[in-house]
């Protein structure tokens, strides 16, 4: 029994890490730009598709993992510049709706570019095996995913805490006027943050390709869960997004054993409890 619990825990952790990659982008963008980005799921999807193309071109999964998020990030950067900026003067609901429009268009553009079929999952050199835990195999790739999750946390934390751009970001999240007063180009900052958020989600997308199937509708499915995650964690809070991602991942995983059919219900119940008793989420704070 104990090894089953550990196995479920590990798979839950890895599921949580994918949620973290997408919800960190979501919460970061919200924290700085104040925009709830429906298209965050599309960046996840684009990460997978672009990664697939890079992989086809270079034959190297690691190059794909490196380049796909950057390409998607650059795309997001320009998307923000040209199509999202005009919406900042609008109500936040309109911004949400606009990104919803982006999601619709991106899903269908992806279908036009990459076709409607399922894109095969690449094999990752060196990570195809498994390690034995309690005489049962656990895939090395899942361990790698868990490690990548923690790595992104560490990198983000270091970036925000100890680097100059990171400090500006934190300042901007609490007080944009102050940041502007410091001579920060807020408009450029917004574009960069939007791009950074896309990079995180796209990284999730490309990292998921070896274990899941990529199709144009994949962004839709994941964005809903990411919303739940950031409600639990507290909007705009990276710490909250991380903890909540793990909580949701673990609930889903243990739910499969202890309450099949109802694991999603369990997540909703947590959301309701958070709302009633701790309405600003687990970690109500900025970035």
């Amino acid at each position: 029994m104990i090894e089953t619990l550990i196995f479920q825990g590990l798979t839950g952790l890895s599921q949580g890490m994918f949620l973290w990659l997408i919800s960190s982008g979501l919460t970061l963008v919200f924290g700085i730009l104040g925009v709830l980005n429906f298209a965050q799921g599309s960046f996840y999807m684009l990460g997978a598709f672009v990664g697939y193309s890079v992989l086809k071109f270079t034959g190297n999964f690691w190059l794909a993992t490196l380049f796909a998020p950057v390409i998607v990030g650059i795309f997001a950067f320009f998307l923000e510049r040209f199509l999202l900026k005009p919406a900042y003067k609008l109500d936040e609901s309109y911004q949400l709706l606009l990104t919803f429009g982006f999601a619709l268009v991106l899903e269908n553009l992806a279908k036009l570019i990459w076709g409607s079929g399922y894109i095969a999952s690449p094999r990752v050199p060196g990570l195809n095996g498994f390690v034995m835990l309690f005489n049962r195999p656990f895939p090395t790739y899942y361990i790698f995913i868990i490690a990548m999750g923690f790595l992104t946390v560490a990198v983000l934390w270091y970036f925000l805490k100890f680097t100059w751009p990171g400090r500006i970001l934190r300042a901007a999240s609490t007080n944009q006027e102050m940041a502007a007063a410091l001579g920060v180009n807020v408009s450029m900052l917004y574009s960069l943050v939007f791009g950074l958020g896309a990079i995180l989600s796209a990284l999730g997308g490309i990292l998921a390709t070896p274990i899941t199937v990529t199709s144009s509708g994949v962004g839709d499915t994941i964005i809903i869960k990411a919303f739940l995650v950031i409600v639990i964690g507290g909007l705009g809070s990276l710490k909250g997004a991380f903890v909540a991602s793990l909580i949701v991942g673990l609930i889903e995983s243990y739910g499969v054993i202890f309450m099949p059919f109802f694991e999603m219900a369990m997540i909703y119940i947590i959301v309701i409890f958070i709302l009633l008793f701790k309405p600003s989420g687990l970690f109500p704070e900025n970035v």
Binding site: F7, L10, S14, G115, Y118, S121, R123, I211, G217, M264
Partner: protein, 425 residues
Amino acid sequence: MKKFNRRSFVKAGLAGSAAVLFGGLTGKKSEAKTLKNPIKIAHQAVLSGNFATYGKFHEMGARLAVEEINANGGILGSKIEYTMKDATLKPAVAVRNARYFVEEWGADMIMGIDSSGQALAVGKIMPQLNKPLIVTHAATSQLNENLVFKEGIKQIFRVSVPTYQDGISAAFVASKLPIKRWATISPSYTFGRVSWKAFKETLKKLRPDVEFVSESWAHFGTVDFSSHISKVMSSNAEGFFTTEWAGELISLINQGQKFGLFKKFKEVLLSLGGAMDVVEALGKNYPEGVWISCRYWYEYPPTNVNGSFVERFYKRWKRYPHYVSETSYSAIYAYKAAVEKAKSVKTEDVIKALEGLTFVTPAGRRWIRKEDHQAVYEVPWGRVAHTDKPPYVTLKNSIMVWPAEVYYPHPPFKENDYPPYYNNK
């Protein structure tokens, strides 16, 4: 309802005899006159979202059939006009499309449909639309058992196999395998539940010594199966059965490989593992030795009809036919056969002609049962082996087939009566 039946019977009789009469008197030319030109066939399937690939495969099969028929003089001289629409997976959209096809576009026959909910919703309004509907994918047994057989909605036909293939035939395969304990990860919706139940109950009757030790239910849209895999792998099962399909099956297989699922279980049955979307996506990575089936497999039957179909299909689309391609292709040929038999495109005549119709298709000889309008035909199971050429998967050396009559439930349908027609002889 009675009145309707009598009138249609009379009409059908009149039309039929008129056609025979004229045909006898004046030969082929006037036959064409009694028909409509062009004959309009409307097709709908999912062309957007996660399952968009299904719609594309549907369309490829249907277009090939239409092109061939039109190139060879059409149906009794009438050309086919064909249209295709995105049905998404929403019943409301499928209903709207069906209404559009019949009431606006003027379709003589409508076909396609992927999800059970859509098939049932469209099926229910067929008496209003009163055109033949040939379902080419949706597998719910309610369609033929309830809507056609019990409620008498005669406009509905299905050329693809119902869930019988997914649950019951799998149990026949399982009964021949030297293992006793089974587990599943099944889709957490009607299709998955019905199939697992059919599998369990059939197998229990065929092999009373079997046990079902672990089941895990995955939501529609599950992306990550690892916790389900981890759960079933913690059981002492020896065999694994699933009716997961399309993208979710690909994810399940991928993740299963990483977790050593195909090593842990001695036998694995994938009822829809033979679908070309899955085969294409996995190719050489398809785990060897697992049992797969689907509603048509490109290598079976090894007839000339099938061989040349696969060849033509590949030539036209540079891909191998998916089962929905074959069923779409055959649906059009079934309709052609019926119209030629009835020498009429009138719904009543076509229905009569389709009932009991036997026709040769790439998937072999199909026979449309009169009572429930279900096409009965054989579909194989086999073990995955690899080849060097696309699609890299072959079942040639391990094919296992049961006559469809053996495992198809027969009218009158009794609830939960598995296996339906099989006696322990």
